[in-house]
């Protein structure tokens, strides 16, 4: 079976709009969370978000949108976009440069694309509202394209003239982790030589606030206090948006072209809870099986793992469930470090898996262990897990990244530092 490496990264996130900024924020434990103007008003009990800086969306009209300088986006491309597709376009541009890809390699029958997004609930609302209140013929021509979850895939596959296999993943908050795993499989099976893995989400009241009614969102107003995964005072997650792109490539192909490899994808696993629509199985059984499947696929023993980027969104139920899964798998003397980088970034929903795999690649390449921020009093129910409450000097060689989503879907991806062999 072919081996798979990550040879390029792109990121538009709450903690930075390129890999250098993200790296600095992670190292300095700098939060991307702040009070969000979109949540203003006494009728909105949620105040914090992992805001995406440098972009503005003052109306649903694409020609009102602004984005950071340095990206070339034509009007004919922008008019079909959603905010998440715009973030992804910028992250793709970075990843292509980071992986040192020529346009022939980007637009190539052996290069494919896997996208993950929940779609733009904002634009779907605007478009449907126009149809209902003003009539079918008054909705803008791109209404279908930018209302459906597939709009990310539609925009990126056409915008970058992708010629290989391309598709979207839709499995709630594990979507882009699924995309990464499936992309790795496509390369291992020699169906493609290179894959772009793209996770992206809007960041606005329409895609974040629906979680308020199930009490999944933090009502904290101080970004220094929330989100605080594994802490006794955690009260829910803080939403974010943005985009993350990983260039996933067949090892020999990457070596032949002298690609700047940052990590190897050793394997991955998935499993479902079979339990509830929104509540994770309290025993963590589904996630446990996903982790075990990943270890088996990657030919690893639990003791080989140095660090786990936990799903840990900072909800009461989710963090406990994940701790149960971890303690069932990692029983030996050597316990891996565990942290939630969502405590700095916020929870990116469909973006989360790709964003956190990107963070893991940075941790491997730059040899640091990301801290789990905002913990002042560890929940006793998590106390036996080796959580990174403050900076440690350990440089991980093998990491896992967990993602779980509504419906009880669980994914675990195993990555290894690239040391040249």
């Amino acid at each position: 079976m072919k081996r798979v490496v990550v040879s390029g990264l792109g990121c538009i996130t709450s903690i930075g709009n390129n890999r250098a900024e993200v790296l600095r924020s992670l190292r300095e434990c700098r939060t991307g969370i702040e009070p969000f103007a979109d949540f203003a008003g006494d009728d909105i009990p949620i105040k914090l978000a992992g805001t995406v800086k440098g972009f503005t969306f003052p109306s649903a009209r694409f020609d009102d949108w602004t984005y950071p300088a340095g990206y070339q986006i034509g009007r004919d491309q922008l008019r079909a976009m959603t905010p998440n597709a715009l973030y992804a376009f910028c992250a793709m541009d970075q990843a292509i440069r980071d992986a040192q890809l020529t346009s022939d390699l980007v637009s190539n029958p052996r290069t494919g694309l896997l996208c993950a997004s929940g779609g733009s609930m904002w634009l779907a609302y605007e478009n449907l509202h126009t149809i209902v209140t003003r009539g079918v013929n008054r909705v803008q021509p791109m209404a279908t394209v930018n209302s459906i979850p597939g709009s990310l895939y539609i925009n990126i596959v056409a915008g970058f003239k992708i010629k290989g296999g391309s598709m979207g993943c839709s499995s709630a908050c594990s979507s882009s982790a699924h995309a990464l795993g499936l992309a790795a499989d496509m390369i291992r099976l020699n169906r493609q030589e290179m894959m772009f893995v793209v996770g992206a989400e809007d960041c606005n009241r329409f895609n974040i606030l629906p979680f308020a009614s199930i009490r999944a969102l933090s009502v904290q107003t101080d970004p220094a206090k929330s989100p605080c995964a594994f802490d006794i005072k955690r009260d829910g997650f803080v939403g974010t948006g943005g985009a993350a792109v990983l260039v996933v490539e067949e090892l020999e192909h990457a070596l032949r072209r002298g690609a700047p490899i940052c990590a190897e994808v050793l394997g991955w696993g998935q499993a479902s809870d079979g339990y509830n629509v929104v509540i994770p199985d309290p025993t963590g059984d589904g996630l446990r099986r996903a982790i075990e499947n990943a270890l088996l696929d990657a030919r690893l023993q639990p003791g080989d793992v140095d660090y786990i980027n936990a799903h840990a969104t900072s909800t009461v139920a989710g963090d406990i469930s994940e701790c149960h899964a971890l303690r069932q798998v990692f029983r030996g003397d050597k316990q891996p470090w565990v942290s939630s980088t969502k405590s700095l970034t916020g929870h990116g929903l469909s973006l989360a898996g790709a964003m956190e795999a990107t963070i893991c690649c940075l941790a491997l390449q730059e040899r640091f262990t990301p801290v789990s921020a905002n913990i002042t009093e560890l929940d006793p129910a998590c106390a036996d897990i080796r959580i990174v409450t403050e900076a440690v000097s350990d440089a991980p060689q093998i990491v896992l990244t967990n993602s779980s989503g509504f419906g009880g879907t669980n994914v675990c991806v195993a990555l290894k530092r690239w040391d040249g062999n």
Binding site: D63, G74, R75, D76, R79, N137, R138, Q140, P141, M142
Partner: protein, 123 residues
């Protein structure tokens, strides 16, 4: 006919990226029924939707200038423009009618006739 505040706001919103001359022309038609102002509205909207890479600059256009081949409007830009025309001039352009409108002259003629209450000779 005096426009309501809502109608005025809608026109301004639709034309907010066009020149002041385009807005003035649209208001001349909407408030006074002056159909001679319509070509200036069309000009302003094409200016908005024409890509920078277009073969022919709009300032050199004449009645024979083709919307797609010469002015570079693709099918979606054409739809966006029709959408704006319908909103600003309060006129409907049907699919069959649109198929026949291939040149700038044809577009102006079609709208002139339709807005003046004459059955348009689109074909």
């Amino acid at each position: 006919m005096a426009l309501s505040e809502k109608e005025l706001a809608e026109i301004k919103q639709e034309l907010r990226r066009c020149s002041p001359e385009t807005l003035a022309a649209a208001l001349r038609y909407r408030e006074h029924g002056d159909v001679t102002a319509v070509p200036a509205v069309i000009y302003g909207l094409i200016e908005l939707y024409q890509p920078a890479t277009a073969k022919h600059p709009l300032k050199d256009a004449n009645d024979e200038t083709r919307l797609v081949e010469d002015l570079g409007l693709d099918s979606l830009s054409l739809l966006e423009m029709v959408f704006s025309i319908e909103g600003v001039l309060k006129v409907q352009i049907g699919n069959e009618e649109l198929k026949e409108i291939l040149t700038l002259g044809k577009l102006n003629q079609f709208l002139h006739e339709k807005l003046a209450g004459v059955t348009p000779t689109a074909s």
